[in-house]
Protein backbone atom coordinates (compact mmCIF):
# COMPACT_ATOMS: atom_id res chain seq x y z
CA UNK A 1 0.00 0.00 0.00
CA UNK A 2 1.26 3.44 -0.87
CA UNK A 3 1.22 6.44 1.41
CA UNK A 4 1.74 9.99 0.18
CA UNK A 5 2.41 11.63 3.49
CA UNK A 6 2.73 15.41 3.38
CA UNK A 7 4.51 16.00 6.66
CA UNK A 8 4.74 19.71 5.96
CA UNK A 9 0.94 19.82 6.22
CA UNK A 10 1.31 19.10 9.90
CA UNK A 11 4.62 20.51 11.03
CA UNK A 12 4.24 23.56 8.85
CA UNK A 13 0.87 24.41 10.36
CA UNK A 14 2.42 25.68 13.51
CA UNK A 15 4.75 28.07 11.80
CA UNK A 16 2.54 30.39 9.91
CA UNK A 17 0.28 33.24 10.89
CA UNK A 18 -2.96 34.60 9.63
CA UNK A 19 -2.95 37.72 7.51
CA UNK A 20 -3.63 41.00 9.31
CA UNK A 21 -5.55 43.86 7.78
CA UNK A 22 -3.84 46.38 10.01
CA UNK A 23 -0.37 45.49 8.81
CA UNK A 24 1.46 47.01 5.87
CA UNK A 25 3.39 44.17 4.29
CA UNK A 26 6.63 44.59 2.42
CA UNK A 27 5.68 41.89 -0.06
CA UNK A 28 2.44 40.08 -0.74
CA UNK A 29 2.82 37.14 -3.06
CA UNK A 30 -0.23 36.03 -4.98
CA UNK A 31 0.07 32.34 -5.79
CA UNK A 32 1.52 29.35 -4.00
CA UNK A 33 3.00 27.35 -6.84
CA UNK A 34 6.73 27.02 -7.54
CA UNK A 35 7.05 30.73 -8.41
CA UNK A 36 5.16 31.99 -5.38
CA UNK A 37 6.96 29.70 -2.97
CA UNK A 38 10.39 30.60 -4.38
CA UNK A 39 9.60 34.30 -4.14
CA UNK A 40 8.60 33.71 -0.53
CA UNK A 41 11.91 32.10 0.41
CA UNK A 42 13.90 34.90 -1.20
CA UNK A 43 11.78 37.60 0.29
CA UNK A 44 11.84 36.12 3.79
CA UNK A 45 15.59 35.60 3.75
CA UNK A 46 15.96 39.29 2.97
CA UNK A 47 13.99 40.06 6.10
CA UNK A 48 10.95 41.38 4.25
CA UNK A 49 7.58 41.21 6.00
CA UNK A 50 5.96 38.71 3.67
CA UNK A 51 2.51 37.29 3.08
CA UNK A 52 1.44 34.63 0.61
CA UNK A 53 -2.07 33.97 -0.64
CA UNK A 54 -2.83 30.85 -2.61
CA UNK A 55 -5.73 28.83 -3.92
CA UNK A 56 -3.75 25.63 -3.55
CA UNK A 57 -0.23 25.03 -2.33
CA UNK A 58 1.90 23.66 -5.15
CA UNK A 59 -0.26 25.07 -7.92
CA UNK A 60 0.03 23.20 -11.20
CA UNK A 61 3.04 21.34 -9.83
CA UNK A 62 0.76 19.54 -7.36
CA UNK A 63 -1.19 18.10 -10.27
CA UNK A 64 1.79 16.59 -11.98
CA UNK A 65 2.49 12.96 -11.34
CA UNK A 66 6.09 12.80 -12.46
CA UNK A 67 8.68 15.54 -12.75
CA UNK A 68 11.98 14.62 -14.36
CA UNK A 69 13.44 17.96 -15.33
CA UNK A 70 13.69 19.81 -12.07
CA UNK A 71 17.33 19.60 -11.12
CA UNK A 72 18.31 17.58 -8.07
CA UNK A 73 15.66 14.91 -8.64
CA UNK A 74 15.80 12.43 -11.47
CA UNK A 75 12.18 11.66 -10.81
CA UNK A 76 9.88 13.17 -8.23
CA UNK A 77 6.14 13.21 -7.73
CA UNK A 78 4.61 16.69 -8.09
CA UNK A 79 2.97 16.76 -4.70
CA UNK A 80 6.18 15.61 -3.05
CA UNK A 81 8.16 18.40 -4.67
CA UNK A 82 5.45 20.89 -3.74
CA UNK A 83 5.72 19.68 -0.15
CA UNK A 84 9.45 20.24 -0.09
CA UNK A 85 9.00 23.76 -1.43
CA UNK A 86 6.26 24.39 1.12
CA UNK A 87 8.40 23.03 3.92
CA UNK A 88 11.23 25.37 3.00
CA UNK A 89 8.95 28.40 3.12
CA UNK A 90 7.36 27.39 6.41
CA UNK A 91 10.61 27.43 8.35
CA UNK A 92 10.31 31.23 8.34
CA UNK A 93 7.52 33.20 9.91
CA UNK A 94 5.19 33.95 7.07
CA UNK A 95 1.60 35.15 6.95
CA UNK A 96 -0.22 32.54 4.92
CA UNK A 97 -3.65 32.19 3.42
CA UNK A 98 -4.57 28.88 1.74
CA UNK A 99 -7.65 27.90 -0.27
CA UNK A 100 -8.24 31.57 -0.97
CA UNK A 101 -8.76 33.58 -4.15
CA UNK A 102 -7.63 37.12 -4.83
CA UNK A 103 -10.26 39.20 -6.56
CA UNK A 104 -8.25 42.24 -7.61
CA UNK A 105 -5.24 44.42 -6.82
CA UNK A 106 -5.05 48.21 -6.48
CA UNK A 107 -2.06 50.39 -7.22
CA UNK A 108 -0.66 53.28 -5.19
CA UNK A 109 2.40 53.93 -3.06
CA UNK A 110 0.79 51.43 -0.71
CA UNK A 111 -0.93 48.81 -2.80
CA UNK A 112 -4.00 46.76 -1.93
CA UNK A 113 -4.77 43.12 -2.40
CA UNK A 114 -8.49 42.45 -2.26
CA UNK A 115 -9.70 38.90 -1.66
CA UNK A 116 -12.87 37.34 -3.02
CA UNK A 117 -14.26 37.22 0.51
CA UNK A 118 -13.86 40.97 0.80
CA UNK A 119 -10.80 41.20 3.01
CA UNK A 120 -8.24 43.85 2.03
CA UNK A 121 -4.52 43.73 2.75
CA UNK A 122 -2.01 46.53 2.31
CA UNK A 123 1.48 46.12 0.96
CA UNK A 124 4.46 48.01 -0.46
CA UNK A 125 5.00 45.51 -3.26
CA UNK A 126 3.07 42.72 -4.93
CA UNK A 127 4.42 39.69 -6.74
CA UNK A 128 1.83 38.14 -9.01
CA UNK A 129 2.60 34.44 -9.36
CA UNK A 130 -0.90 33.18 -9.92
CA UNK A 131 -0.07 30.74 -12.69
CA UNK A 132 -2.52 29.26 -15.12
CA UNK A 133 -5.76 27.32 -15.25
CA UNK A 134 -6.53 24.51 -17.66
CA UNK A 135 -8.11 25.70 -20.87
CA UNK A 136 -11.51 24.26 -21.66
CA UNK A 137 -12.50 22.93 -25.06
CA UNK A 138 -15.60 25.16 -25.03
CA UNK A 139 -17.67 22.67 -26.97
CA UNK A 140 -21.26 21.58 -26.41
CA UNK A 141 -21.60 18.97 -23.69
CA UNK A 142 -18.33 19.81 -22.00
CA UNK A 143 -19.74 21.83 -19.15
CA UNK A 144 -22.73 19.58 -18.52
CA UNK A 145 -20.65 16.43 -18.47
CA UNK A 146 -17.74 17.74 -16.38
CA UNK A 147 -17.38 15.27 -13.56
CA UNK A 148 -19.47 12.82 -15.57
CA UNK A 149 -16.79 11.74 -17.98
CA UNK A 150 -15.21 15.07 -18.89
CA UNK A 151 -12.04 15.32 -16.82
CA UNK A 152 -9.04 17.60 -16.46
CA UNK A 153 -6.82 15.66 -14.08
CA UNK A 154 -5.56 12.30 -15.29
CA UNK A 155 -3.78 11.31 -12.12
CA UNK A 156 -6.92 11.94 -10.08
CA UNK A 157 -9.46 10.28 -12.28
CA UNK A 158 -7.66 7.64 -14.33
CA UNK A 159 -8.71 4.83 -11.95
CA UNK A 160 -12.36 5.39 -12.92
CA UNK A 161 -11.64 4.43 -16.48
CA UNK A 162 -10.39 0.93 -15.84
CA UNK A 163 -11.48 -1.30 -18.72
CA UNK A 164 -13.16 1.64 -20.39
CA UNK A 165 -12.55 3.65 -23.54
CA UNK A 166 -11.19 7.16 -23.26
CA UNK A 167 -10.27 10.08 -25.46
CA UNK A 168 -7.45 12.48 -24.70
CA UNK A 169 -7.78 15.90 -26.29
CA UNK A 170 -4.35 17.41 -26.81
CA UNK A 171 -1.03 16.21 -28.18
CA UNK A 172 1.39 18.17 -26.01
CA UNK A 173 3.36 16.84 -23.04
CA UNK A 174 0.34 16.92 -20.73
CA UNK A 175 -1.84 15.13 -23.24
CA UNK A 176 0.66 12.43 -24.07
CA UNK A 177 1.54 12.04 -20.39
CA UNK A 178 -2.14 11.53 -19.62
CA UNK A 179 -2.50 9.13 -22.54
CA UNK A 180 0.37 7.00 -21.22
CA UNK A 181 -1.19 6.83 -17.75
CA UNK A 182 -4.55 5.95 -19.25
CA UNK A 183 -3.22 3.39 -21.72
CA UNK A 184 -2.19 1.25 -18.73
CA UNK A 185 -5.68 1.29 -17.29
CA UNK A 186 -8.23 1.80 -20.06
CA UNK A 187 -9.02 -0.69 -22.78
CA UNK A 188 -8.54 1.93 -25.47
CA UNK A 189 -7.17 5.46 -25.71
CA UNK A 190 -7.73 7.80 -28.63
CA UNK A 191 -5.55 10.90 -28.71
CA UNK A 192 -7.15 13.72 -30.68
CA UNK A 193 -4.71 16.37 -31.82
CA UNK A 194 -5.58 19.48 -33.85
CA UNK A 195 -2.24 19.74 -35.60
CA UNK A 196 -0.85 17.26 -38.08
CA UNK A 197 1.76 16.09 -35.60
CA UNK A 198 2.15 15.63 -31.87
CA UNK A 199 3.76 18.51 -30.00
CA UNK A 200 5.03 16.41 -27.11
CA UNK A 201 8.67 15.58 -26.37
CA UNK A 202 10.02 12.66 -28.37
CA UNK A 203 10.73 10.65 -25.24
CA UNK A 204 7.03 10.72 -24.34
CA UNK A 205 5.75 10.05 -27.85
CA UNK A 206 8.05 7.02 -28.15
CA UNK A 207 6.78 5.72 -24.82
CA UNK A 208 3.17 6.10 -25.94
CA UNK A 209 3.75 4.28 -29.19
CA UNK A 210 4.68 1.16 -27.23
CA UNK A 211 1.09 0.72 -26.17
CA UNK A 212 -1.05 -1.26 -28.55
CA UNK A 213 -4.34 0.09 -27.31
CA UNK A 214 -3.64 3.67 -28.35
CA UNK A 215 -4.87 5.39 -31.50
CA UNK A 216 -3.62 8.83 -32.48
CA UNK A 217 -5.93 11.00 -34.53
CA UNK A 218 -4.00 13.91 -35.99
CA UNK A 219 -5.48 16.93 -37.65
CA UNK A 220 -8.75 16.56 -35.79
CA UNK A 221 -10.57 18.87 -33.40
CA UNK A 222 -13.05 17.86 -30.72
CA UNK A 223 -16.37 19.43 -31.61
CA UNK A 224 -18.81 17.96 -29.14
CA UNK A 225 -19.10 15.63 -26.19
CA UNK A 226 -22.32 13.63 -26.10
CA UNK A 227 -24.05 11.35 -23.67
CA UNK A 228 -27.08 11.14 -21.44
CA UNK A 229 -25.94 11.77 -17.87
CA UNK A 230 -22.48 10.47 -18.71
CA UNK A 231 -20.07 10.71 -21.63
CA UNK A 232 -20.93 8.23 -24.37
CA UNK A 233 -19.13 9.61 -27.41
CA UNK A 234 -16.77 12.34 -28.55
CA UNK A 235 -17.36 13.97 -31.92
CA UNK A 236 -14.14 14.89 -33.72
CA UNK A 237 -13.89 16.81 -36.97
CA UNK A 238 -11.21 16.42 -39.62
CA UNK A 239 -9.88 19.95 -39.92
CA UNK A 240 -9.09 19.57 -43.58
CA UNK A 241 -12.11 17.75 -44.95
CA UNK A 242 -14.69 18.78 -42.38
CA UNK A 243 -15.74 15.17 -42.00
CA UNK A 244 -16.98 14.30 -38.54
CA UNK A 245 -16.54 11.01 -36.75
CA UNK A 246 -18.08 9.81 -33.53
CA UNK A 247 -15.62 8.14 -31.17
CA UNK A 248 -17.37 5.93 -28.62
CA UNK A 249 -15.90 6.81 -25.24
CA UNK A 250 -16.67 6.63 -21.54
CA UNK A 251 -14.56 9.67 -20.81
CA UNK A 252 -12.50 12.48 -22.27
CA UNK A 253 -9.46 14.04 -20.68
CA UNK A 254 -8.95 17.65 -21.71
CA UNK A 255 -5.28 18.61 -21.99
CA UNK A 256 -5.32 21.53 -24.41
CA UNK A 257 -3.18 24.08 -22.68
CA UNK A 258 -4.02 26.70 -20.12
CA UNK A 259 -5.04 30.33 -19.61
CA UNK A 260 -3.25 32.74 -17.30
CA UNK A 261 -4.90 33.67 -13.98
CA UNK A 262 -4.42 37.36 -14.66
CA UNK A 263 -7.98 38.65 -14.23
CA UNK A 264 -7.02 40.11 -10.88
CA UNK A 265 -4.77 42.59 -12.69
CA UNK A 266 -7.00 43.31 -15.67
CA UNK A 267 -6.95 46.96 -16.59
CA UNK A 268 -3.98 47.59 -14.33
CA UNK A 269 -1.04 45.63 -15.70
CA UNK A 270 0.05 45.42 -19.32
CA UNK A 271 -0.70 42.02 -20.83
CA UNK A 272 -0.22 40.37 -24.20
CA UNK A 273 -3.05 39.08 -26.40
CA UNK A 274 -3.35 35.86 -24.45
CA UNK A 275 -3.67 37.64 -21.11
CA UNK A 276 -0.15 36.95 -19.88
CA UNK A 277 1.40 39.69 -17.75
CA UNK A 278 4.30 41.38 -19.54
CA UNK A 279 7.52 41.51 -17.51
CA UNK A 280 11.08 42.64 -18.07
CA UNK A 281 14.26 40.85 -17.09
CA UNK A 282 13.86 42.15 -13.52
CA UNK A 283 10.40 40.65 -13.20
CA UNK A 284 8.93 44.16 -13.27
CA UNK A 285 5.53 44.92 -14.74
CA UNK A 286 4.50 48.32 -16.07
CA UNK A 287 3.57 49.43 -12.52
CA UNK A 288 6.27 50.34 -10.03
CA UNK A 289 6.35 48.01 -7.08
CA UNK A 290 4.35 45.28 -8.84
CA UNK A 291 6.21 42.25 -10.12
CA UNK A 292 5.21 38.97 -11.70
CA UNK A 293 6.74 35.56 -12.26
CA UNK A 294 5.95 32.14 -13.61
CA UNK A 295 3.27 30.89 -15.97
CA UNK A 296 1.06 33.96 -15.53
CA UNK A 297 3.72 36.04 -17.33
CA UNK A 298 4.82 36.21 -20.96
CA UNK A 299 7.96 34.18 -20.23
CA UNK A 300 8.43 32.15 -23.43
CA UNK A 301 8.73 28.74 -21.76
CA UNK A 302 6.54 27.50 -18.95
CA UNK A 303 8.56 25.23 -16.72
CA UNK A 304 8.88 24.80 -12.97
CA UNK A 305 12.57 25.59 -12.99
CA UNK A 306 12.00 28.75 -15.05
CA UNK A 307 9.16 29.90 -12.80
CA UNK A 308 11.47 29.54 -9.82
CA UNK A 309 14.28 31.47 -11.46
CA UNK A 310 11.97 34.32 -12.44
CA UNK A 311 10.40 34.39 -9.00
CA UNK A 312 13.78 34.78 -7.33
CA UNK A 313 14.47 37.72 -9.62
CA UNK A 314 11.10 39.28 -8.86
CA UNK A 315 11.62 38.95 -5.11
CA UNK A 316 15.10 40.47 -5.28
CA UNK A 317 13.78 43.32 -7.42
CA UNK A 318 11.01 43.94 -4.92
CA UNK A 319 13.54 43.97 -2.09
CA UNK A 320 15.80 46.44 -3.92
CA UNK A 321 12.83 48.70 -4.59
CA UNK A 322 11.82 48.73 -0.92
CA UNK A 323 15.33 49.26 0.41
CA UNK A 324 16.09 52.10 -1.97
CA UNK A 325 12.74 53.87 -1.81
CA UNK A 326 12.92 57.10 0.27
CA UNK A 327 9.21 56.82 1.09
CA UNK A 328 9.62 53.59 3.06
Amino acid sequence: MDFNLSSSLFTGEQQFNAFESSKIYDVIIIGGGPAGLTAAVYSLRKGMVTGLITRQVGGQMAETAGIENYLGYRYINGVELADKFHDQVMQFGIDFENNTNVKTIKDGLIKEVILEDGRVFKTRTIIVASGKLPRKLNVPGEKELTGHGVAYCAICDAPFYKDKKVVVAGGGNSGIGAAIDLARIATHVTVVQRRDRLKADKILVDKLKHYENVEILLGHAVKEVTGAGHVEAVIAENRETGERISIPADGIFVEVGSIPNSDLAKGLLDMNETGEIIIDEFGRTNKEGIYAAGDVTDVPYKQIIIACGDAAKAALSATDYILSNPNF
Binding site: M1, F3, D117, H148, G149, C153
Partner: protein
Protein backbone atom coordinates in the same frame (compact mmCIF):
# COMPACT_ATOMS: atom_id res chain seq x y z
CA UNK B 1 4.69 -7.47 6.73
CA UNK B 2 4.25 -4.03 8.25
CA UNK B 3 2.37 -1.44 6.22
CA UNK B 4 4.54 1.45 7.32
CA UNK B 5 8.28 1.38 6.81
CA UNK B 6 10.57 2.86 9.45
CA UNK B 7 10.84 6.17 7.65
CA UNK B 8 7.09 6.71 7.49
CA UNK B 9 6.58 5.43 11.01
CA UNK B 10 9.07 8.02 12.27
CA UNK B 11 7.25 10.80 10.43
CA UNK B 12 3.90 9.56 11.75
CA UNK B 13 5.26 9.48 15.29
CA UNK B 14 6.43 13.06 14.95
CA UNK B 15 3.10 14.20 13.61
CA UNK B 16 1.11 12.29 16.22
CA UNK B 17 3.20 13.91 18.95
CA UNK B 18 0.99 16.87 18.28
CA UNK B 19 -2.08 15.06 19.60
CA UNK B 20 -3.61 16.98 22.47
CA UNK B 21 -6.22 14.71 24.07
CA UNK B 22 -7.15 11.08 23.52
CA UNK B 23 -9.01 10.04 20.41
CA UNK B 24 -11.22 6.98 20.40
CA UNK B 25 -11.25 5.18 17.08
CA UNK B 26 -14.13 2.80 16.56
CA UNK B 27 -13.33 0.52 13.69
CA UNK B 28 -15.96 -1.59 11.96
CA UNK B 29 -14.90 -4.55 9.87
CA UNK B 30 -16.11 -7.87 8.62
CA UNK B 31 -13.51 -10.59 8.26
CA UNK B 32 -15.28 -12.60 5.61
CA UNK B 33 -16.19 -11.17 2.15
CA UNK B 34 -14.37 -7.90 2.69
CA UNK B 35 -11.19 -7.39 0.64
CA UNK B 36 -10.15 -4.06 2.00
CA UNK B 37 -11.14 -4.83 5.60
CA UNK B 38 -7.99 -6.78 6.32
CA UNK B 39 -5.76 -3.97 5.07
CA UNK B 40 -7.80 -1.33 6.87
CA UNK B 41 -7.56 -3.38 10.05
CA UNK B 42 -3.78 -3.49 9.77
CA UNK B 43 -3.63 0.22 8.97
CA UNK B 44 -5.63 1.16 12.07
CA UNK B 45 -3.67 -1.24 14.26
CA UNK B 46 -0.32 0.14 13.16
CA UNK B 47 -1.32 3.79 13.49
CA UNK B 48 -2.80 3.27 16.95
CA UNK B 49 0.36 1.49 18.05
CA UNK B 50 2.36 4.63 17.37
CA UNK B 51 0.78 6.86 20.01
CA UNK B 52 -0.92 5.87 23.28
CA UNK B 53 -3.47 8.66 22.96
CA UNK B 54 -5.10 6.69 20.16
CA UNK B 55 -7.50 4.14 21.56
CA UNK B 56 -9.07 1.63 19.24
CA UNK B 57 -12.12 -0.55 19.58
CA UNK B 58 -12.94 -2.99 16.86
CA UNK B 59 -16.41 -4.25 15.99
CA UNK B 60 -17.75 -6.67 13.46
CA UNK B 61 -20.53 -5.32 11.27
CA UNK B 62 -22.51 -8.53 11.51
CA UNK B 63 -21.90 -9.90 15.00
CA UNK B 64 -21.91 -6.45 16.63
CA UNK B 65 -25.05 -5.30 14.87
CA UNK B 66 -26.30 -3.07 17.70
CA UNK B 67 -23.03 -1.15 17.77
CA UNK B 68 -23.25 -0.76 14.02
CA UNK B 69 -26.79 0.54 14.42
CA UNK B 70 -25.69 2.91 17.18
CA UNK B 71 -23.18 4.58 14.87
CA UNK B 72 -25.36 4.02 11.79
CA UNK B 73 -22.70 1.98 10.00
CA UNK B 74 -23.92 -0.01 7.03
CA UNK B 75 -20.76 -0.56 5.05
CA UNK B 76 -17.21 -1.55 5.93
CA UNK B 77 -14.38 -0.91 6.48
CA UNK B 78 -15.50 2.09 8.50
CA UNK B 79 -13.76 4.32 11.02
CA UNK B 80 -15.75 6.37 13.51
CA UNK B 81 -13.91 8.99 15.55
CA UNK B 82 -14.96 9.82 19.08
CA UNK B 83 -13.48 12.55 21.23
CA UNK B 84 -11.81 12.02 24.60
CA UNK B 85 -15.19 11.80 26.32
CA UNK B 86 -16.46 9.19 23.91
CA UNK B 87 -18.74 11.59 22.06
CA UNK B 88 -19.35 10.93 18.38
CA UNK B 89 -17.73 13.67 16.31
CA UNK B 90 -19.77 12.53 13.28
CA UNK B 91 -16.56 12.06 11.34
CA UNK B 92 -16.37 8.86 9.30
CA UNK B 93 -13.87 7.21 6.98
CA UNK B 94 -15.19 4.50 4.68
CA UNK B 95 -12.39 2.56 3.03
CA UNK B 96 -8.69 2.62 3.78
CA UNK B 97 -7.33 6.16 4.15
CA UNK B 98 -4.16 5.25 2.26
CA UNK B 99 -2.44 7.10 -0.57
CA UNK B 100 -2.95 10.84 -0.13
CA UNK B 101 -5.81 10.27 2.31
CA UNK B 102 -3.43 9.42 5.10
CA UNK B 103 -3.14 13.19 5.39
CA UNK B 104 -6.85 13.70 5.96
CA UNK B 105 -6.82 10.82 8.45
CA UNK B 106 -3.98 12.32 10.46
CA UNK B 107 -5.59 15.72 10.16
CA UNK B 108 -8.84 14.37 11.58
CA UNK B 109 -7.01 12.66 14.47
CA UNK B 110 -5.26 15.89 15.39
CA UNK B 111 -8.40 18.01 15.12
CA UNK B 112 -10.51 15.57 17.13
CA UNK B 113 -7.79 15.52 19.78
CA UNK B 114 -8.19 19.26 20.14
CA UNK B 115 -5.32 20.47 17.97
CA UNK B 116 -7.36 22.70 15.76
CA UNK B 117 -6.36 25.55 13.48
CA UNK B 118 -8.36 28.70 14.10
CA UNK B 119 -11.14 29.44 11.68
CA UNK B 120 -11.96 33.07 10.80
CA UNK B 121 -14.78 34.51 12.98
CA UNK B 122 -17.26 34.98 10.16
CA UNK B 123 -16.80 31.42 8.88
CA UNK B 124 -17.27 30.04 12.40
CA UNK B 125 -20.47 32.04 12.78
CA UNK B 126 -21.86 30.72 9.52
CA UNK B 127 -21.11 27.12 10.51
CA UNK B 128 -22.70 27.51 13.91
CA UNK B 129 -25.85 29.02 12.40
CA UNK B 130 -26.64 25.80 10.50
CA UNK B 131 -29.63 24.15 12.14
CA UNK B 132 -30.65 21.49 9.62
CA UNK B 133 -29.34 17.93 9.43
CA UNK B 134 -26.53 17.93 6.92
CA UNK B 135 -24.83 14.80 5.58
CA UNK B 136 -21.68 15.42 3.53
CA UNK B 137 -20.20 12.54 1.56
CA UNK B 138 -16.81 13.16 -0.01
CA UNK B 139 -15.86 10.62 -2.66
CA UNK B 140 -12.13 10.22 -3.19
CA UNK B 141 -9.57 7.98 -4.82
CA UNK B 142 -6.33 7.30 -3.02
CA UNK B 143 -4.17 8.63 -5.87
CA UNK B 144 -5.88 12.01 -5.99
CA UNK B 145 -3.78 14.83 -4.49
CA UNK B 146 -6.69 17.27 -4.29
CA UNK B 147 -8.97 14.97 -2.38
CA UNK B 148 -7.64 15.28 1.19
CA UNK B 149 -8.39 18.99 1.14
CA UNK B 150 -12.08 18.40 0.50
CA UNK B 151 -12.20 15.66 3.14
CA UNK B 152 -10.50 17.86 5.73
CA UNK B 153 -12.93 20.71 5.05
CA UNK B 154 -15.96 18.43 5.34
CA UNK B 155 -14.68 16.89 8.57
CA UNK B 156 -13.96 20.31 10.04
CA UNK B 157 -17.55 21.33 9.40
CA UNK B 158 -18.73 18.20 11.23
CA UNK B 159 -16.48 19.03 14.17
CA UNK B 160 -17.87 22.53 14.53
CA UNK B 161 -21.58 21.72 14.31
CA UNK B 162 -23.32 18.64 15.73
CA UNK B 163 -25.93 18.76 12.97
CA UNK B 164 -23.30 18.02 10.34
CA UNK B 165 -22.05 14.54 9.52
CA UNK B 166 -19.10 14.08 7.16
CA UNK B 167 -17.81 10.92 5.46
CA UNK B 168 -14.75 10.16 3.39
CA UNK B 169 -15.73 7.46 0.92
CA UNK B 170 -13.11 5.65 -1.12
CA UNK B 171 -14.86 5.48 -4.48
CA UNK B 172 -13.30 2.29 -5.80
CA UNK B 173 -14.13 0.33 -2.65
CA UNK B 174 -17.80 1.25 -2.60
CA UNK B 175 -18.68 0.94 -6.24
CA UNK B 176 -22.49 0.75 -5.99
CA UNK B 177 -22.50 4.00 -4.02
CA UNK B 178 -20.14 5.64 -6.51
CA UNK B 179 -22.41 4.56 -9.33
CA UNK B 180 -25.46 5.83 -7.47
CA UNK B 181 -23.96 9.31 -7.33
CA UNK B 182 -22.35 9.11 -10.77
CA UNK B 183 -18.86 9.54 -9.41
CA UNK B 184 -16.32 9.67 -12.22
CA UNK B 185 -14.24 12.61 -11.10
CA UNK B 186 -12.86 13.24 -7.64
CA UNK B 187 -13.13 14.75 -5.18
CA UNK B 188 -16.89 14.69 -5.50
CA UNK B 189 -18.85 16.18 -2.65
CA UNK B 190 -22.47 15.11 -2.23
CA UNK B 191 -24.55 16.95 0.34
CA UNK B 192 -27.80 15.43 1.61
CA UNK B 193 -27.83 13.05 -1.30
CA UNK B 194 -28.64 15.65 -3.92
CA UNK B 195 -26.41 18.76 -3.92
CA UNK B 196 -23.07 18.28 -5.63
CA UNK B 197 -19.72 20.03 -5.61
CA UNK B 198 -16.67 18.98 -7.56
CA UNK B 199 -13.07 19.56 -6.62
CA UNK B 200 -11.25 20.76 -3.52
CA UNK B 201 -13.66 23.58 -2.82
CA UNK B 202 -12.96 26.16 -0.09
CA UNK B 203 -15.09 26.03 3.04
CA UNK B 204 -17.11 29.01 1.81
CA UNK B 205 -18.30 27.01 -1.22
CA UNK B 206 -19.57 24.24 1.10
CA UNK B 207 -21.32 26.83 3.26
CA UNK B 208 -22.89 28.54 0.25
CA UNK B 209 -24.54 25.25 -0.76
CA UNK B 210 -25.52 24.22 2.76
CA UNK B 211 -27.09 27.57 3.58
CA UNK B 212 -29.37 27.31 0.57
CA UNK B 213 -30.79 23.93 1.59
Amino acid sequence: MALFDDNIRKQLAQILDGLKDDVHIVFFTQEIECESCHDAHQFIDEICAINPKLKMTRYNLVTDAEKAAEYKIEMVPAVVMLDKDGNDTNIRFFGIPGGYEINSFLGALLEVSGERQELPEDILKRIQKIDKDIHIQVFVTLSCPHCPGAVITAHRLALENKKIKADMIEANTFVPLSIKYNVSGVPKIVINGEHELLGDQPITAFLDVIEKI
